[in-house]
C-alpha cells in the first residue's frame, strides 16, 4: 500500500538510510501519473511538421521557359512538315468539297448573319420607342416635379441613415 511505502521512505530519510529511502521512493513515485497534453496534440504536431511546398526556383523557371520555346519550335516544325506534305493530299480517299459547294455554304452563312442582324435591329428599335415614350412623359411638368421630389426624399433618407450609422459606430467603439 502506498501509505506504507510513504512511511518507509520518510522514516528511512529521517534515519539517513539512503538505500532504504531510495528503494521506497522509487516504488512510491511510480504512482505519480505522467502529465498528458490536450486532445488533438498528435494532429497539431503532424500539421506543424508537414513538409512546406517547394518554392519555385530559378532553375524551375528556366525549365518552364525552355519548355515554351521547345513547344513553339515543335509547332513550327510540324507546320512546315504539313505544308510540305500538302500536295500528297490529292491521293487521299476523302473527296474535297467542290467550289460550288463552298460558295453555297458561304451564301447560307451570309443569309443567316443578315437575319440575325435584322432581329437585333428590331430589338433596338423597340427599346428606342420605349425610351422615346418615357422621354415624352418625363418632359411634362408634373412628372418632372414628382421625379425631383422623390430624388430629394431619397437624398434626405440616405443622409439620415449615414448620420445614424456614425452615431452607432461611436457608441460601440
Amino acid at each position: 500500500m502506498d501509505s506504507d511505502r510513504l512511511n518507509r521512505w520518510l522514516t528511512a530519510e529521517a534515519a539517513d538510510d539512503d538505500a532504504g529511502a531510495e528503494a521506497a521512493f522509487v516504488a512510491l513515485f511510480a504512482s505519480v501519473p505522467r502529465l498528458a497534453p490536450g486532445g488533438g496534440f498528435t494532429e497539431r504536431v503532424l500539421w506543424a511538421a508537414r513538409p512546406a511546398p517547394a518554392p519555385a526556383t530559378a532553375n524551375g523557371g528556366l525549365l518552364a521557359a525552355l519548355g515554351w520555346k521547345a513547344a513553339i519550335l515543335a509547332a513550327l516544325v510540324l507546320g512546315g512538315f504539313s505544308v510540305a506534305l500538302l500536295p500528297l493530299a490529292r491521293w487521299l480517299p476523302v473527296e474535297a468539297p467542290s467550289f460550288g459547294a463552298i460558295l453555297k455554304g458561304g451564301a447560307r452563312v451570309l443569309t443567316w448573319t443578315a437575319e440575325w442582324l435584322d432581329a437585333g435591329i428590331a430589338t433596338w428599335r423597340l427599346l428606342a420607342r420605349i425610351g422615346g415614350a418615357l422621354g415624352v412623359a418625363a418632359s411634362t411638368p408634373e412628372i418632372v416635379s414628382a421625379l425631383l421630389a422623390s430624388a430629394l426624399v431619397s437624398g434626405l433618407a440616405l443622409y439620415s441613415l449615414n448620420h445614424l450609422l456614425a452615431i452607432e459606430r461611436r457608441t460601440w467603439r
Binding site: D2, N7, L10, S31, V32, L35, P37, T42
Partner: protein, 210 residues
C-alpha cells in the same frame, strides 16, 4: 507485437505518414510530461513539445540507431527546447510557495485500477497529487532528473547523455531532490506516522496517536 521505434523511424523517412503518427502517439506523453515539469505551464509546454517533435522530424535523417535509443534522442531535443526557452528569460511565473494555486487540472489523475478499495484509491490519488505538487516545487534541474529517472526509468548514463550534466551532478541532484521531496511532503502533512487516518485532501492527513 509492436514495431520497434527504429523501424518506425525508417518507415517515416521513407514517407509513411502513419509511422510519423505512431511516433507522436508513442512519445507525446513522455515528452510533454518532461517539458511540462520543466516549464510548469501547460499551454507553453504543449507549444514547446510540438516544437520538439517538429525539430525531431525535420532532422530525423540525422538519428543514428547505433548511437542510442530513439526515445533518448527525442528527450534530448525536448530538453534542449525547454532549456532554450528558460534561457531566453521567459521564466516560470507560478509562485513556488503556492503550488496548490495551479489547481487540479495540472495534476490530472489517471484512473487507478490497482487500488483495493475506494478508500485506498482516494489515499493513493491524493498522495500522487501531493507528490506531483512537491515535484513542481523543486528546482527545474531537479525536476528534470527526477522525471527522467523515476518516471521514464532511464539509467544515470542516459540522463547524462540527455542533460549533458556530469554523472556526479546527476546523482547529487537526484539525492537532493529526494530529500527535498520528503521535506515538502512532511510540511504538507504527509509526515511519517505510526497510524495514519485519511481525512480528505484539504484536511490534515496524519494523526500522531499517542
Amino acid at each position: 507485437m509492436s514495431v520497434a521505434d527504429e523501424q518506425l523511424v525508417r518507415e517515416a523517412l521513407s514517407g509513411s505518414q502513419s509511422a510519423y503518427r505512431e511516433l507522436v502517439h508513442r512519445f507525446e506523453r513522455p515528452v510533454f510530461n518532461l517539458v511540462a515539469r520543466m516549464i510548469r505551464d501547460r499551454g507553453l509546454a504543449e507549444d514547446l513539445s510540438q516544437d520538439a517533435f517538429v525539430k525531431a522530424f525535420n532532422r530525423l535523417d540525422t538519428f543514428r540507431a547505433e548511437q542510442g535509443k530513439f526515445s533518448n534522442w527525442l528527450f534530448k531535443i525536448a530538453h534542449n527546447t525547454a532549456i532554450d526557452h528558460l534561457r531566453r528569460g521567459e521564466l516560470e511565473t507560478v509562485p513556488l510557495d503556492r503550488p496548490e494555486a495551479e489547481g487540479p487540472d495540472f495534476h490530472a489523475m489517471l484512473p487507478d485500477d490497482s487500488a483495493a478499495s475506494p478508500y485506498e484509491a482516494a489515499v493513493r490519488g491524493d498522495l500522487a497529487t501531493a507528490l506531483g505538487v512537491a515535484v513542481d516545487r523543486l528546482r527545474p534541474e531537479y525536476r528534470e532528473v527526477v522525471v527522467l529517472r523515476h518516471q521514464e526509468g532511464l539509467a544515470y548514463e542516459e540522463i547524462v547523455e540527455i542533460t549533458k550534466l556530469p554523472l556526479g551532478t546527476v546523482k547529487t541532484y537526484l539525492h537532493r531532490a529526494r530529500k527535498e521531496l520528503a521535506g515538502h511532503l512532511t510540511e504538507a502533512g504527509w509526515g511519517p506516522a505510526e497510524d495514519r487516518v485519511y481525512t480528505g485532501a484539504t484536511e490534515t492527513r496524519a494523526l500522531h496517536l499517542a
